[in-house]
């Protein structure tokens, strides 16, 4: 486009710009309106509740920041955050490496791969109520399958979910087992969008299996990996169902996580204000972790 052309198109461009705004709105409003009304609105309301004392029945009583001050001075707060981080640190590598290995293995032209994919997805669709029953039984201290098998090798297995030291590892194992199929599905969809000629080229260059994994597959899979990591962290900080179903935070609060505490504060102790304050503290942590990841993504995430 020459300078003259540019000058000529200056006026119509304004018109295009108005159309552009309409286009953006057309694409964005269908999601923006419901999210604003039914997610953002209640979020702001909960921020307001966090500045009040409220038992869900009588009128709210303004208390300013005292819910937050109370939480900061309560040792339980630190403990529940620590347990949550412990969960994430154990869960994320397990579920990612396991899901990646599965996706890679089941992306090859194996016989029966459709069936295997279906089987590995089964735990994802099974409810935590059923999964918890099974895992509590598998990990039962005396007669459980896991400890029986360990016994064959002369190892005395721990008390798992009945032991404060092993309660969280039990939850981590059961969660990784349940979610591995979720990671597999996301990564399989990602693997499908890697053009096969990239592999042809790498093979011609004499790259071996590991070399191709690290130089072709992982870089081209990075948008899916980024998605899995961001989502797993957002969900990991809000871990609840499995804790509630497997240990209910016990024994002795050794597996009490943040959302379990929020749930107890709201529905057991009727302290909606404190619960909301704790939620907002959690929100700030999740937000910070997510912002760091979004900032850092251009270093490793490769969009075609």
């Amino acid at each position: 486009m020459t300078v003259q052309d540019a000058a000529l198109t200056t006026r119509p461009r304004k018109k295009v710009s108005a159309r552009h705004v309409l286009t953006v709105l057309a694409f964005l409003l269908p999601s923006a309106i419901p999210l604003a009304l039914f997610s953002l609105g209640p979020m702001i309301a909960s921020a307001w509740v966090s500045l009040n004392q409220w038992n869900l029945l009588s009128a709210m009583k303004w208390v300013g920041l005292s819910n937050y001050i109370h939480l900061f001075s309560d040792p339980t707060t630190g403990a529940v955050f620590l347990h949550t981080v412990y969960y994430i640190v154990g869960y994320l590598p397990l579920v990612y490496i396991g899901g990646l290995a599965l996706a890679l293995a089941l992306n090859t032209a194996l016989k029966g791969r459709s069936l295997l994919r279906g089987i590995y997805f089964l735990p994802v669709v099974t409810s935590w109520i059923v999964v918890a029953v099974i895992w509590r039984w598998l990990l039962a201290p005396d007669s459980g399958v896991v400890n029986t098998v360990l016994g064959f090798f002369g190892i005395t297995g721990p008390g798992w979910w009945t032991d404060p030291t092993w309660a969280m590892p039990s939850i981590i194992i059961a969660s990784a087992w349940k979610d591995i199929g979720f990671v597999m599905v996301i990564l399989l969809a990602g693997l499908q969008s890697i053009p096969t000629d990239m592999y042809d080229a790498a093979k011609v260059d004499g790259a071996g299996w590991w070399r191709r994994l690290f130089s072709v597959t992982l870089p081209l899979l990075s948008p899916s990996t980024f998605f899995v990591v961001v989502i797993s962290l957002i969900n990991g900080f809000q871990v609840f169902d499995q804790v509630y179903a497997m240990t209910a935070g016990g024994p002795n609060g050794s597996s009490e996580v943040v959302v379990e505490e929020i749930y107890d504060l709201t529905f057991r102790y009727s302290q909606a204000g404190t619960a909301s304050a704790l939620s907002w503290m959690l929100f700030i942590v999740i937000l910070a972790v997510t912002v760091i990841q979004i900032r850092g993504q251009r270093r490793w995430v490769n969009y075609g």
Binding site: V21, T23, P34, L188, F226, L282, F283, T290
Partner: protein, 293 residues
């Protein structure tokens, strides 16, 4: 399949001339199968146990789970459909899940297109706000949400159940990642042909992100199908009940008849599994039909 030979390694289905597998290739193959099958056994076990328990009228939670059905019978299923409104409940949940999925496909793909392909001020910030809606635990949003719907007079209605899940930040994020991977050259070529954003969206982007769309179908459907807390709080009429609530009620009602509870669990898992197997075809087909190399 005729002249496709798998080269050991990930994501590799390279058409080459058929050749005999070498000894070490074969050994690797066998090892991979063994690992996958042992893993699969570990995954499928709870489901098998659920099915077996559902046909064992003597089953109870106090005994250790057994893999041999004691006196197998379908009486659990018969009890379920005769004495609880289970058929109605399944139909309700199916309807809600289908509507939720269709709406989320629409709101998700349009928003994802905006975040990937449209330039506008504050795009990153708006996307950040979208993601932020996933960062507050539902447990604390339920009280304000309930008050809000009460004001609108939408309690005890399916509209009330649906409203909070019309758009999902999870789905938008998933589809945005997929659209980002579609080569921009395709849009540019279409623009030169005179296509506007709506046409590019419909004819270029959507066909190219079929695997991600199929993935969203699975997760949107599952989110609605398993949704427990919110429908429990919004719905009060028995005839509007959904499946997870009915399942929870079963556990209270049939504390000793574990076969009835597990029959309910099996019925709750099957549609999801069927949907996944169906969607899987599209997740895998995606690239073959997209025309990008």
């Amino acid at each position: 399949m005729a002249d496709v030979v798998v080269v050991a390694g990930p994501a590799l289905t390279i058409p080459v001339r058929r050749h005999r597998m070498t000894g070490s290739e074969l050994a690797k193959r066998v090892a991979l199968y063994v690992v996958l099958v042992v893993g699969a056994a570990l995954m499928v076990f709870p489901f098998v146990w659920t099915i077996i328990t559902s046909i064992s009228p003597e089953a109870s939670l106090t005994v250790s789970p057994s893999l041999i059905p004691t006196d197998p019978s379908l009486s659990g299923y018969a009890e379920l459909f005769a004495n609880t409104p289970f058929a109605v409940v399944v139909a309700n949940s199916l309807g809600l899940a289908v509507v939720t999925t269709v709406i989320q496909l629409f709101t998700g793909s349009t928003a994802a297109y905006a975040f990937s392909r449209l330039q506008f001020r504050g795009r990153t910030v708006v996307f950040g706000i979208y993601l932020a809606t996933m960062m507050i635990p539902l447990q604390v949003l339920i009280v304000p949400l309930f008050s809000e719907l009460k004001v609108f007079g939408l309690l005890d209605s399916y509209v009330g159940v649906l409203l909070p899940s019309l758009a999902s930040a999870f789905g938008i994020f998933l589809l945005r990642q997929a659209i980002n991977q579609v080569p921009r050259e395709l849009d540019e070529a279409a623009t030169l042909d005179g296509a506007g954003h709506f046409r590019i969206f419909w004819t270029i982007i959507l066909p190219n992100i079929r695997p991600a769309l199929a993935t969203l179908v699975v997760f949107a459907f599952m989110g609605s199908w398993n949704n427990f807390l919110w429908p429990l709080i919004v719905l009060s009429s028995p005839q509007l009940q959904t499946l997870p609530i009915a399942l929870a009620n079963l556990q209270g009602q049939y504390t000793t008849q574990w076969d009835v509870v597990m029959a309910g669990s099996v019925i709750s898992i099957l549609p999801m599994l069927a949907l996944y197997i169906f969607a899987q075809k599209y997740i895998i087909q995606g690239v073959a039909s997209s025309g990008i190399k």
